[in-house]
Structure formats: structure tokens, C-alpha cells
Amino acid sequence: MDQGAEEKNVLGPFEYVVWFLGIILEAAVVVCAIIKGSFRRYLALNLYMLASVLVSLGRFKTLTDYGFTSSEYVYFYYYSDLLLTIGLYFALMSLYAHVFKEMGEGRYVRFGSLLLLLGTAVFSFGIVQQSSDRILSRFVVEVSQNLYFVGLVLTYVLWGAMLKLRETRTMLIQLVLSLGLYFSVFAASYALRNLFPSLHGIWPFLTPISGCLLPLTWAYAFIRLHENARLAPGRLAVVPR
């Protein structure tokens, strides 16, 4: 939770507007996917967005019942954030499955991703055990941060594989790049928080705006791009191939 925001027990109009904008965009992703017939094809992504909408509504209920600085809200926020991050991790794995589908390597991808998820949890638990007495709450924060970074690395690897395999599906490319943008923004902002804890004034603005990035770009991909649209992957590499 942002230290600056903890000083007050209510949210301002800006926070509410960005929060509801985020909920609307998350719902829009699912609606756009259903309209375009991509809901089942990208089921994990859409389930993640549905879960995000439900979690946002749950957070709003907790906020109105207990207040912004209450421990109930803080616990609900971080535990739901952890679950959503794990959900996004599985959404990423489904994108891996799409890319490697034709190679028949889906089984290994699933096994590898589960192993990595468990490894991240154990690693985070190990760090927290050494440094805190409030082990469970710190564990949730630590594992969320690490999962964002692991998610970023995995998305980076997937993007590299897509360039190597000359993936041409425009929708898949934009979904993966959007996810990469999202993970990098969150991983960078978590790291920045650790480096400069005194910068707490900017997080109440930066975090919700960053949260809108993923639903905005996914909704765009679902509604504007045709499933069969193709583009040359060589055009997208930062270093021309």
C-alpha cells in the first residue's frame, strides 16, 4: 500500500475515476473478445480479465465497508493482487501454448511454468523468513513483486521465441507485447519503490494509470484486429533482422 495514501482514509476523485476506468476497460476486453469470437481461443486471458473485474468490485466493497487504511482492505488488496498476478502468470503460459502449439511442446511448457511458479514462491518465502517477523503479510508482497519480475523475464523470452520462430499473427504479437509493457512497468515501479521509498507521493497516481495499460491494449487488439491478420515479424525487432 502506498505510504502517502495511507495517511487518508478515503480516496480522491482522481483515484475513483481511474479505478472505474480500469474496471470498465477490463470488462470491455471480455465484451470485445466475445463480440469478435475470440473468447474461447484466448480463454485464460479473458478469465483473468473477468477475475480482475470481480476483484475490483470486491476491493470497492471492502473499501466502503472498512476504509482505505483498514487492515481488512490492505489484506484484501495484497492477497487478491497475489492471486491476480498468479492468474496473469497462467494467462502468459496460455500465450506460450499458442506460440508453441504447432511444435507440440505444450506439456513441457506447462510443467516448466508450474516449476517456476513454485520456485518463485519458495525464493520469496526464503527472503521474507530472513528479514521479517510479520512473515505472512510480507510474504504476499514479496512474492507479488518477484512474480512481476519473473513474468517480465518470461514475456521477454516468449517475445524472443516469437521473433526466432517468425510468428506472424498480429493479434498474438500485440497481446504479448502489451503484456510485456505491463510487466515491465510494474516490475520497474516496484523496484523504484524499493530504491526510493521517499517517492511515495507518485504511486497513488502511477499505479492505477499503469493498471489501465493492459486492458486498454488488449481491448484494442480484440476489437480492432482480425484473427487472421498477419505482419512480418522482422519489422518489429528493435535490431533489424
Partner: protein, 133 residues
Amino acid sequence: MMAAIIFAFSTAALLQFFVSYCRSLIAASARTSLSPEVQDVIGIKQAASGEDFARVMQYLHLCPERREDRNRVQAIATYFRLLSFLRSAIVPIVPSLRAWTEHERSQCAYFAAVALDRRIALSRDMLAEQMTA
């Protein structure tokens, strides 16, 4: 130390994803030809140059916005600013980047020209609808 490494890696990855995302947006418009009217108005026949971008954006802001391309235009404008920053700050140190930044800037200008073309077509359609109503 760990946070610094994560921050450096994340920022580098963010830049790379952002560049690739913008290029995926631009790639779709690169295959679109400009209408003769827009070619005459903005003076771009085949290839645009980075210097055209600001002028095309001025024309773009004069036209009614299309909701579908608002965010894309903003993303590409940010990308163009990033490229302009690279050109002024990094290219003097790494001259080999000059050709790449110029090519990317020209692609941004062409993207803006295609967006302008679509907005003019939309305005024309709206006018035609009003005339018939």
C-alpha cells in the same frame, strides 16, 4: 542492489517492448496508400520524412477525432518524441543509430499521414450524412 538490477532490466525491457509495440501499430499503416488529396495537402508522395511529422500532426488536430485511432496516435507521438530525443542526445555519440532513427521517424510521419487520411474520409462521410439528412 537487487532492486537496482531489476529496475535497470525492467526499464530496458519496457523500452524494447514499447518500440516493438509502436512498430506493430505502424506496420499496419505502412501497407496503406495515401489518397491523392492527402498527398497534395501534406506534400508527401511516396515516402515521408521525420520532418513532416509535426506538420501532419497539426493537420491531424484540425480534423474531428476518430475514437478508434486516438490512443494509437498518442502512442506513436510518444514514440516519435523518444526517437527525437535519441537523435539529439544519443546519435552524436553513436552515429550508426542515425539511419535507424531517421527511418523510424519517417515511418511515424507516414503513420500520421494515414491517420489524417482516415480522419478526412470520416469528416467527408459526416458532411455527406448531414447533407442528405
